[in-house]
Every structure is written in structure tokens, then in C-alpha cells.
């Protein structure tokens, strides 16, 4: 079991104990435990198939799991998925955002304000989702995620398929939103630079190997080998 306790003031937003996920007779996540302090950005790193997205799916209650997942302080979760299937659906940005604007506790006065908050113009409201650029689509997804004022954001590779300049801009925007709204962020990413610059800690998942480090350590080649190389299961 690996345990991370971020910070010392015990203002935790999430506590996970002995989280194990088995899917189709395969153990995807094995006995993961950690506590996450409010306002922290935790990067989830590891090779493909290591269970990063499965961890998010467990947090969202989308897969069966054993162990305990406990959210504290009325956690309200915003989720930004890795990909959308919009190529065949004639849905406009306005319609997409309206799917979620029924509650009375929106962070933005209206959906257009949410677009402005993520650096997009209101003119985009009538455009179809499927004709947006990768960067625009990701921003619309972030607008969707913040529309009901979450205090926890889950990002599953939020800038995959986005050019480098847009990627930086999106992460700067995420950081601004985080600081403004005191949000806790869990972020799946493969990008060493992004992990080092925009997260506080990282949780490495690599089959039988699970460990935590401060994100600034990601540049260590030995550590990268542990995260992305062939796991040595005896280490556990």
C-alpha cells in the first residue's frame, strides 16, 4: 500500500483507502491509498493501461471497486474527459452547455459568461462542437466543467491533441481558475513539463508499483524509468 498525505493542516478534500479495481478478471488498480489536501494539484502519471483513467472512473462512481473513497466538505466535482464523440452529432456549443445549466448554482451568470471565463468569445455559442479546433473544444469542456461551480476538478489529459501554445494557455487558465475558486485538481498527464510546472504532487501508477513524489522530481531520469519502464513487482 502506498500512502500520500499532502500538507499538514488536515483540511482534506479526498481520502482514499485500499482502493482496488478489478475489471474483466484483471486487477487494474491495486490497494491505492492517499489523502489529498484542499487546493492541491495532484498529477496522475504512468504508462498507458496503468489505471489512471480507471482511478477517475472509480472517483466518479462509474466502475465497481473495493476499498473506500471519501469526499469531504461537500465536494462538488467537475470532470473533463479525454475525448468526446462529437464528430457525427450536430450539436452547437450553446446547446452543449445548456445540457448542464439547469441548476441554480452556476459559477457563471449564463453559459456565455462561462465561455468568457475560459478565454473564448461568445460568438462561438452558435458554432457546432464538431467544427471547433482541439484547443477550443478543450476550453468548452472546461467551461462545461466549471458551470456549476465545482471545488474539485478531474482532468483526463485535458490538452491531448492541442498544439503547444494552446496547451500552455489552457494550463495557465486552469491555474487561474484554481486560484480564484480555491479548487483542488486531479490531473492525468504524460507531459513532464506540464506536471512539473502545474502540479504539486504526482501519483505514479505502473501496474504493481504505486508511489508518490513531489512533482518537481519528475525530471529525474531514474524516477521516469520507475514510472514508465517495466515495473519490478518485487519492489512492492
Amino acid at each position: 500500500m502506498s500512502t500520500l498525505i499532502t500538507g499538514n493542516n488536515k483540511d482534506y478534500v479526498l481520502e482514499i483507502s485500499n482502493l482496488t479495481v478489478n475489471l474483466q478478471n484483471q486487477t487494474i488498480l491495486d490497494d491505492v491509498s492517499f489523502k489529498l489536501e484542499k487546493g492541491t494539484t495532484l498529477a496522475i502519471v504512468g504508462p498507458n493501461g496503468a489505471g489512471k483513467t480507471t482511478l477517475f472512473r472509480a472517483l466518479l462512481n462509474l466502475v465497481p471497486y473495493s476499498g473506500r473513497i471519501e469526499w469531504h466538505g461537500k465536494a462538488k466535482i467537475g470532470y473533463v474527459p479525454q475525448k468526446l464523440s462529437v464528430s457525427d452529432i450536430p450539436v452547437s456549443v450553446k446547446e452543449f452547455l445548456s445540457f448542464k445549466t439547469t441548476s441554480n448554482t452556476e459559477a457563471c451568470v449564463n453559459a456565455e459568461d462561462c465561455l468568457n471565463a475560459v478565454g473564448l468569445s461568445g460568438d462561438l455559442m452558435s458554432r457546432e462542437l464538431r467544427v471547433l479546433s482541439g484547443g477550443q473544444l478543450q476550453r468548452v469542456l472546461i467551461a462545461w466543467a466549471i458551470i456549476d461551480k465545482p471545488n474539485v476538478l478531474l482532468f483526463d489529459e485535458p490538452t491531448s491533441g492541442v498544439d503547444l501554445d494552446s496547451e500552455e494557455a489552457i494550463y495557465r487558465m486552469i491555474t487561474e481558475l484554481k486560484n480564484k475558486n480555491e479548487m483542488t485538481i486531479l490531473l492525468i498527464s504524460h507531459d513532464t513539463h506540464i506536471i512539473r510546472e502545474y502540479s504539486d504532487y504526482m501519483l505514479a501508477l505502473n501496474k504493481c508499483v504505486t508511489f508518490f513524489r513531489e512533482s518537481k522530481e519528475i525530471i529525474d531520469p531514474d524516477l521516469q524509468e520507475m514510472i514508465y519502464g517495466e515495473p519490478v513487482c518485487q519492489m512492492k
Binding site: L60, Y79, I89, P90, F99
Partner: protein
């Protein structure tokens, strides 16, 4: 206009409109063939209605309803697509239906006949269409969100499985009444082609669903009218009318009219 034609036209417009509306989701879900294949499942139910002298619509609906539940359950448990499961079931149902349906009624069941409809049939068609449209309107956004991302839909509290089941049941209901006009072989047309026509010229979901419904109603109504004047079965004429609308839309799009 005779009373019989008025009844036929009313059924045609309501069924065409509701099939177009529900079909707009089916085409997005890439389940276009499901609507077509599902209609064949109704044949044994129609046959039982004819053989045992009860309203064939009830038999068709019972079979469609049961099939929708079975298809939904198998797809959920096996993770097979709806199309695969329906494909496996519908040929069996068609074979059984053709074997047990009395031969004089076979043509009517396969290609539809609205020359004998009365006030009761018309009332049922209108009420069923209204119910199907209203309930589908309530769950329309949830179904689309589930198509865009099941995780996103579930994370907002939508039970994607339950919403899909309700939708399949509503499709069954619509197909059951559509059979009256165009028959089991051609009812899939009303679910697929108006939506395909609308999709080609739409840039928003609301425009797409409304156009699909209108094209469904136009195809159906013009097929019924032509059937009355030409004294030919309505099913094939509905298909020809709808195809004309489809080709016109393709042509206008080609001319950059949309």
C-alpha cells in the same frame, strides 16, 4: 376529402412526425438499422393478432416491447452493440412471422394498408405519437449527452442505461403504429431517412430534430395522398416521397443553398 382519407392522413402525419423525431436520435446513435430491424420483430405479434382475432397493433406492440427489453438487457450484459443483438434476433422473428401469418394478410402486414382505418385507430395513433414525442423530448438531451460521452453523462447523474431503455420502448411504440401505414418491411424508412435528410442540412440539434420530424410528416402525408389518388399501397409511396425529399435536400446542399 372523405372521412377515410382524413383518418389516413391524420395517422400519416402523426406517425411520420413522431418517427422522424425519434429517428433523429437513432441516426445519431448509429442505430439506423436497429429501427429497421426492430420493425420485423413485430411480425409474429401481428400474426398472432390476426390468428386469434385481437387488434394486431397490440400483438405487434407486445412483441416489440418485449424485444426492446431483451435487446437492451443482452446489449448491457454482453457489451455487444444494439445493432448486433437486433441483427441476431430480427431474422428469426421475421421467419416465424411469415410462417404463422395467414397468407391473405401477409401483404398487408409487410407493406401496410390504411384503407380500413377508423376513428379508434386514428385516436390511438395520435395519442401514442404525442406520448412518444413528449417523453422523448424530456430525455432527448440526456440521450445526446450519453452519446457524446457516457462518463460525462453519468458524472452529471444521468442513468444512461435507464434512459436508453425508455427510448427503445418509445421507438417500439412508434414502430408499432407506423406498421399500420407502411408495413413491417418499410417502417424502418420513416425512422431513418427523414433524420438522414435533416442531418445533412443542420448545424444545431434543435434544427435537426425539428426538420427530421417535419420531413417524416411530409413523406408520410404525401405517400398517403398519392396512395389515395393512384389507388396503390401507401408503404412504397411513402418511401418514394421521402426519398424525393432526401434527394432534393442533397441537391440543394450541393448548390450551397444551406
Amino acid at each position: 376529402m372523405t372521412e377515410a382519407l382524413l383518418f389516413s392522413l391524420t395517422i400519416g402525419v402523426s406517425v411520420g412526425f413522431s418517427a422522424g423525431y425519434l429517428g433523429s436520435l437513432m441516426v445519431l446513435e448509429k442505430m439506423a438499422l436497429v429501427g429497421d430491424a426492430l420493425s420485423h420483430v413485430a411480425l409474429p405479434g401481428l400474426a398472432l393478432g390476426i390468428l386469434y382475432n385481437f387488434n394486431p397493433f397490440l400483438g405487434a406492440f407486445a412483441f416489440l416491447f418485449a424485444s426492446a427489453v431483451i435487446i437492451w438487457y443482452i446489449a448491457r450484459v454482453t457489451r455487444l452493440s444494439f445493432e448486433t443483438v437486433v441483427g441476431a434476433l430480427f431474422t428469426l422473428a421475421l421467419a416465424i412471422g411469415i410462417l404463422i401469418i395467414p397468407e391473405p394478410d401477409l401483404l398487408e402486414a409487410l407493406f401496410g394498408d390504411i384503407t380500413k382505418v377508423g376513428l379508434l385507430d386514428t385516436s390511438i395513433a395520435v395519442i401514442v405519437s404525442l406520448v412518444a414525442i413528449t417523453l422523448t423530448k424530456i430525455i432527448y438531451d440526456r440521450i445526446v449527452l450519453g452519446m457524446i460521452s457516457e462518463e460525462l453523462a453519468t458524472s452529471t447523474g444521468i442513468n444512461v442505461g435507464r434512459v436508453n431503455l425508455l427510448y427503445l420502448l418509445l421507438v417500439s411504440l412508434t414502430v408499432a403504429i407506423g406498421i399500420k401505414i407502411v408495413g413491417t418491411l418499410l417502417v424502418g424508412f420513416l425512422v431513418v431517412v427523414p433524420a438522414a435528410t435533416a442531418k445533412n442540412i443542420s448545424s444545431s440539434l434543435s434544427r435537426y430534430s425539428i426538420l427530421s420530424s417535419i420531413f417524416g410528416a411530409i413523406s408520410s402525408a404525401s405517400g398517403v395522398l398519392l396512395s389515395n389518388y393512384l389507388n396503390l399501397p401507401p408503404g412504397p409511396l411513402v418511401v418514394l416521397s421521402g426519398t424525393t425529399v432526401f434527394l432534393t435536400a442533397v441537391f440543394l446542399k450541393w448548390l450551397k443553398f444551406f
